[in-house]
């Protein structure tokens, strides 16, 4: 290996292990590579600036902002109320409300932690009050957050679309079936948990209650139509849809629900941009990393080596999934996508995996990593809301993680799950 290759691989691993934040570690190894290879130092600044000059990336802060505005404007509460009237009388009904409300919220926000935060903040206390075990209540809110990146719109798919140079709209569609399968499994887990622990049921809502909740929630329920209808109706790009969804949330929050105030707005913007900066900083600094990796042909060499060592496509995909799951236990999922993206794409090309199908596999992995112990954004949010320890939530969440791994297996080996909703003629 060349000196640059050493910096980018071993140097990066060493810095991250020592506790250097991912974004800083990437910039540091680029700097080291520039120094050892005597490359023009301006490369660092140039690559970070060009890494941030991509219109598609603007969807990330805007979808995060939309999620914050929807929560602050009371729209997530409306979704919960409507879902409640539909399933509260079933066994495990209140836990099912968490899943269903998260499913609709996922069609607005696109972020896993935002989904867990918006729905969990309302539902974890409500479930505990209704007699659910607190660990289970938190774990179901954490696992429902996984729907955020799978149901369109999705920040993870936006990032993968940029990394892999694939259509973001098509990638969005590839996550729907895996997302719905995970949601269905979570509903069954809610039912089994409630039956086993004999959690009391709530009375059935009357038709009038359902109608009233639907009327009250119509603006919240219509927002996925604005976002997804806009994108697939060919009216907006995903980035524009994110902006329109922010405007929608502001108008409904200010004038219809009247929960949003102008005074609260700067705080909401700062919060959303802080979360977005965590992700976008990693992406922007990774641009230079990607150029150096390409120049050193690290990705292609690794893919060639893997093809020789493994040979079979099914075994290569199994290896990738296992490696991703293990890596996600110690590394940020977004960083894995961005840093290893070129290598992952080289492997997919080498084995002839459809790029949209491959995107669905990657993002399903990313989504699971958000909830799987020991580290995951959704887990941290669940811990913060419930006040429970990581160990307590981890003990409760394993059935959900197991089901998600089954869905990952299906998504990997049944390509039609990811591809069945693709437009004809592709």
């Amino acid at each position: 290996m060349t000196a640059i290759a050493w910096c980018l691989t071993a140097g990066f691993a060493a810095l991250v292990t020592l506790g250097v934040p991912f974004a800083i570690a990437i910039a540091l190894v680029i700097t080291a590579a520039l120094i050892v290879a005597d490359i023009e130092p301006a490369f660092l600044a140039q690559s970070i600036i060009s890494g941030s000059q991509q219109f598609s990336l603007l969807a990330i802060p805007l979808f995060m902002l939309a999620g914050e505005l929807m929560s602050a404007g009371g729209l997530s509460r409306r979704l919960v109320d409507f879902a409640s009237t539909l399933v509260q009388h079933l066994r495990g009904g209140l836990a099912m409300v968490t899943v269903l409300a998260a499913l609709v919220f996922s069609a607005i926000s696109g972020s896993a932690p935002a989904t867990t935060a918006a729905i969990g903040a309302i539902m974890i206390p409500a479930m505990v009050q209704a007699g659910y075990d607190k660990g289970f209540a938190a774990s179901i809110a954490v696992s429902a957050g996984v729907l955020g990146p799978l149901i369109p719109p999705s920040i993870a798919f936006v990032i993968w679309g940029i990394v892999a140079e694939q259509s973001i709209g098509r990638l969005f569609l590839s996550g729907i079936v895996p997302g719905l399968l995970i949601a269905a499994g979570l509903l069954v887990i809610c039912w089994v948990h409630a039956k086993r622990n004999d959690v009391p049921r709530l009375p059935r809502a009357s038709a009038a209650d359902v109608a009233r909740a639907f009327a009250d929630g119509r603006w919240a329920l219509a927002s996925p139509l604005v976002v997804l209808g806009g994108i697939y109706g060919g009216i907006f790009t995903p980035t524009e849809a994110a902006a329109v969804s922010c405007l929608y949330a502001i108008i409904i929050g200010l004038f219809v629900e009247r929960k949003l105030t102008l005074r609260a707005m700067p705080g909401i913007f700062v919060r959303a941009m802080r979360t977005s900066a965590i992700v976008c900083a990693i992406i922007a600094v990774s641009a230079g990393f990607g150029i150096l990796v390409a120049q050193e042909q690290i990705a292609i060499r690794f893919a060639t080596w893997m093809a020789q060592a493994i040979g079979e496509k099914w075994a290569a995909l199994a290896t990738l999934n296992i490696a991703f799951f293990l890596l996600a236990a110690v590394m940020d999922e977004i960083a894995i996508m961005v840093i290893l993206g070129p290598m992952l794409m080289a492997i997919a090309n080498r084995f002839g995996v459809d790029p949209i199908h491959f995107g669905a596999i990657i993002v399903t992995n990313v989504a699971i990593g958000m909830a799987a112990p020991p580290i995951g954004y959704c887990l941290f949010i669940g811990m913060a809301i419930s006040g429970l320890s990581l160990a307590r939530i981890s003990r409760a969440i394993w059935p959900q993680i197991l089901w998600m791994l089954v869905v990952l297996f299906l998504t990997t080996y049944v390509p039609s799950f990811a591809l069945m909703l693709q437009p004809a003629g592709r």
Binding site: G19, L28, A42, F43, L58, A243, V270, C280
Partner: protein, 165 residues
């Protein structure tokens, strides 16, 4: 060095609000783009470029602000396992390294600014220095924020842990 704390706090406050403002401008520009395309029948020629410029600032400023607020994601398994004294020392070293990276980014950005000076942007025709100056500014902020953390009395542990002490 006590002066560095208030300076860093003021700069961080200004950075925070500038990012929120950039987000608002970004949002407005994209909405304007949609409106001009559908209502006025002609897409705006500058909105996309302006929105992306605002985004670039939010990313670079966010990179620096993350150093001050300690919000960048990291793997802390190893540092968490150290005793308090060792942890503070490690954090201090990492903060010095981050400050050094800030200095390098500022220098790198300054060179890039120099190399590209005189060019203009593709659509709006704004001087490219406006965009390319963002890197040295972010580098300088990162250096100040990193140095301030490194020299903070008692070390700069992540917020929740600092609160426990």
């Amino acid at each position: 060095m006590s002066i560095l704390g208030p300076i860093a706090r003021i700069l961080a406050g200004a950075t925070r609000w500038s990012i929120a403002l950039a987000a608002a401008m970004m949002l407005s520009a994209i909405l304007y783009q949609v409106v001009t395309r559908y209502l006025l029948g002609a897409a705006s020629s500058w909105s996309e470029e302006f929105a992306v410029l605002m985004f670039s600032w939010s990313v670079l400023a966010g990179l620096a602000l993350g150093v001050h607020e300690g919000f960048h994601v990291r793997l802390s398994l190893l540092t968490d396992a150290l005793p308090l004294g060792g942890r503070i020392a490690t954090e201090r070293i990492l903060d010095f390294v981050t400050a050094a990276l800030g200095v390098f980014l500022a220098w790198s950005g300054w060179r890039f600014l120099d190399i590209t000076s005189g060019s203009v942007s593709a659509a709006m025709g704004y001087p490219i220095e406006i965009l390319n100056a963002l890197a040295p500014i972010a580098g300088a902020l990162m250096a100040i924020f990193g140095l301030e953390r490194a020299l903070r009395r008692g070390g700069a542990l992540p917020r929740d842990e600092a609160a426990i002490e």
